[in-house]
């Protein structure tokens, strides 16, 4: 089994490895993926303000390089477990703007059939396991996905996204210990955006070097610039290659920042405007586009094409979500159990 794993890991390295040439085409793809997230989130703000979507909506603006860079290191056989700030993870994974937008509209065509909303996006066919709105709650589940792969000798990685706030949760520490103890093929991706909702990292955690804390469980842990998509991609590739070759869980602390408030309800009273401006200068989309132009990887016409394509895609997503049918109210009790409407029968019997 070890041999097989190594062989497959080796071929994965050749196909996708760190030595991969950063072609203009590839870099443009990264930019497009980040832009899709950025424009999707901007449209979400408009739609929320117009009361077209409701509930809690947590925007990923500023953190796009993390989702896009990490996803480059994953194959379609790998799994992702995400957080409640997961529009970016879902879109980077390949869920369509249409399916995600329809979910926020609460429509039958939504990726969770309108049962989940913004915080609970799922796509089993893409091994995208949500959408978890309990901070730290996705970590044990991710360990289980990785455990099943290990028990079956499958050379796959499970990637779990979580925020800096989750590192204060017991579920993080229980999972880090379990994953390291059992050598699970798990990539722990900590999106350190400096704030657990409104509480700054150094107001909540005694040791703010999160990679250091993860390494205390005996796993490899690196801190990486989460505003540079290529740095994220390189680190994620290194980590997933090591995981595929059997060296157990890896932890990446990606230092990033959310440019917008925690959620649409948040008046953002706890952050200094200068601080936000300082981080905005490091905008992962803008700085990457600038870099590509400087390095002659992005002709102006090409950028326009990308913008147009992404804009049209999101226009279409909104239109389609608007037109889609609502999930019928008669189906309220579906999907509570897999049995043939057991709960519904129970309810009917009572009435």
């Amino acid at each position: 089994m070890t041999t097989k794993r190594t062989d497959r890991a080796a071929s994965a390295t050749n196909r996708r490895g760190t030595a991969r040439k950063a072609t203009a085409e590839h870099r443009q793809k990264l930019l497009e993926s980040m832009l899709r997230i950025r424009r999707f989130e901007e449209r979400s703000v408009e739609l929320y303000s117009a009361a077209r979507i409701r509930g809690f909506v947590h925007l990923y603006v500023g953190e796009e390089a993390v989702a896009v860079g990490v996803n480059e290191a994953l194959t379609e056989d790998d799994a992702i477990v995400s957080t409640y700030r997961e529009h970016g993870h879902a879109l980077a994974r390949g869920l369509t703007s249409e399916a995600v937008m329809a979910e926020m509209f609460g429509k039958v065509t939504g990726c969770s059939h309108g049962r989940g909303g913004s915080m609970h996006l799922f796509d089993a066919s893409r091994r995208f396991y949500g959408g978890n709105a309990i901070v730290g709650g996705g970590l044990p589940l991710a360990a289980g996905l990785a455990l099943a792969d290990r028990m079956n000798g499958r050379c796959r990685v499970t990637c779990c996204f979580f925020g800096d706030g989750a590192v204060a949760e017991g579920e993080f520490h229980e999972t880090a210990n379990l994953a390291a103890l059992w050598g699970l093929p798990l990539l722990l991706v900590c999106e350190n955006n400096q704030y657990a909702m409104g509480t700054a990292l150094d107001r909540a955690q005694a040791e703010t070097d999160l990679a250091l804390r993860a390494s205390s469980y005996g796993m490899v842990a690196w801190a990486v610039d989460g505003m540079d998509v290529e740095a994220v991609e390189r680190a994620a590739l290194r980590a997933t290659e090591a995981i595929r070759s059997g060296s157990g869980p890896h932890f990446l602390e990606l230092r990033t920042y959310r440019f917008r408030a925690h959620s649409m309800y948040d008046p953002d009273r706890y952050r200094d405007k200068d601080e936000i401006e300082r981080w905005r200068k490091r905008d992962p989309v803008v700085t990457f586009a600038d870099r590509l132009r400087r390095e002659h990887s992005l002709p102006t016409a090409r950028l326009r094409d990308i913008e147009n394509r992404v804009g049209a895609e999101i226009d279409h997503a909104v239109e389609a979500a608007d037109l889609a049918a609502a999930e019928p109210v008669e189906d309220l009790l579906l999907h509570v159990t897999s049995g043939v409407g057991e709960t519904r029968k129970e309810e009917e019997a009572r009435l």
Partner: protein, 350 residues
């Protein structure tokens, strides 16, 4: 009855070597504990996706000796000792179930399960619905519940009624050796999360285990004794007490029917209501606290569905509203006892 000790386990181990295969259909004398173990062994033998995971399930043999010997038989990958991390290993069970395995997670006691409540409620019970039907969670969680062993307030509670409150879970309470033996296979075949509550006082219960007749469906209550004057509704560790009360009542000329709920969610309304419609009187016996209890739910359903059949108000025999105390006399006073059940039934009959 006391918690299992090493001598108990050695004795039971010897007694059962004859039925090692775990699939023996011949009638034989066994215990509740051994019946649970036979069920585990059968599941591990028949389905490669099944594995058992929890604190001390392997080298120690299980906190209450249920999995003794299985590590030697099936190895450490499938009889998996975990750190003391209830949330992580229950959540790992959920993830493994999503990825095609059929995990059986053992939690030492229901009180400890509170450390995994996030995973059980927010993930296991909700993933299917939140994902629009994409992610069933075929997970079985076993745990010990209940008092009667002088284990005091952090090892003795009966919180299964809390779990029965939650849509998306199936909650079972095997009260007999047959159910201990035969509930696991259908629980594993269920595509949704199933919680199995084993009452701590039942592990040493012994009796004859017959050949596997057609087992009752999981969501069906069982009539353990037929009667005509009053229906006593109970489950789990209170079943032996309720049957003893029915014996006493019979001696006094009162014919009590005993319904064993077996499934706490979903509740088998049909069996409960049919019985009450026949006897016109009901007493609900539940070791949990009265307030907000499963006994309250059963009573409400009888009120909703059989009100005009009742000749007396529904009575409940529950635990006193106190954290279960250590001292023998205090603990006994806190729990439903045979005499309490007899009194309630006599009052109902009038």
């Amino acid at each position: 009855m006391t918690a299992v000790n090493v001598n108990d386990r050695t004795a039971t181990e010897k007694a059962e070597t004859a039925s090692r295969s775990g699939t023996s259909a011949a009638p034989h004398k066994t215990t509740y504990r051994e019946a649970l173990r036979e069920a585990l062994r059968e599941a591990l033998n028949t389905d490669g996706r099944v594995f058992l995971m929890g604190e001390d399930v392997g080298a120690y043999g299980g906190c209450f000796g249920v999995s003794l010997g299985l590590l030697e038989e099936f190895g450490p990958e499938r009889i998996r000792d975990t750190p003391l991390s209830e949330s992580a290993f229950v959540g790992a069970g959920i993830g493994a179930a999503l990825a095609g395995m059929r995990p059986i997670v053992e939690i030492m006691t229901v009180n400890f399960s509170l450390l995994a409540l996030d995973q059980i409620l927010n993930n296991a019970a909700t993933l299917l619905h939140m994902s629009g039907g994409q992610l069933p969670v075929p997970l079985v969680i076993r745990m010990t519940t209940g008092a009667g062993r002088q284990l005091a307030a952090q090892h003795s509670h009966s919180l299964e009624g809390w779990y029965a409150h939650i849509p998306g879970l199936r909650v079972l309470a095997p009260a007999t050796i047959e159910d201990a033996r035969h509930m696991l296979a259908p629980a594993l075949a269920d595509p949704d999360p199933v919680l199995i509550f084993e009452h701590g006082t039942l592990y040493n219960a012994s009796g004859e285990l017959g050949p596997a007749a057609e087992p009752l469906p999981l969501d069906r209550a069982a009539i353990r004794r037929t009667g005509t004057d009053v229906t006593l509704i109970t489950y789990g560790g209170s079943l032996p007490k309720t049957l003893a009360a029915a014996d006493e009542l019979a001696a006094a000329g009162i014919s009590a029917e005993v319904v064993d709920l077996r499934s706490l969610r979903p509740l088998d309304d049909t069996t409960i209501i049919d019985s009450v419609v026949r006897t016109h009187r009901a007493v609900v016996v539940d070791e949990a606290w009265r307030t907000g209890s499963l006994a309250a739910e059963v009573s409400a359903r009888i009120g909703e569905q059989a009100f005009y059949s009742l000749d007396a108000r529904v009575r409940r025999v529950c635990s006193a509203e106190v954290p279960i105390p250590y001292a023998r006399e205090l603990e006994a006073a806190a729990l439903p006892q045979v005499a309490d059940i007899v009194t309630a039934a006599r009052e109902a009959v009038g």
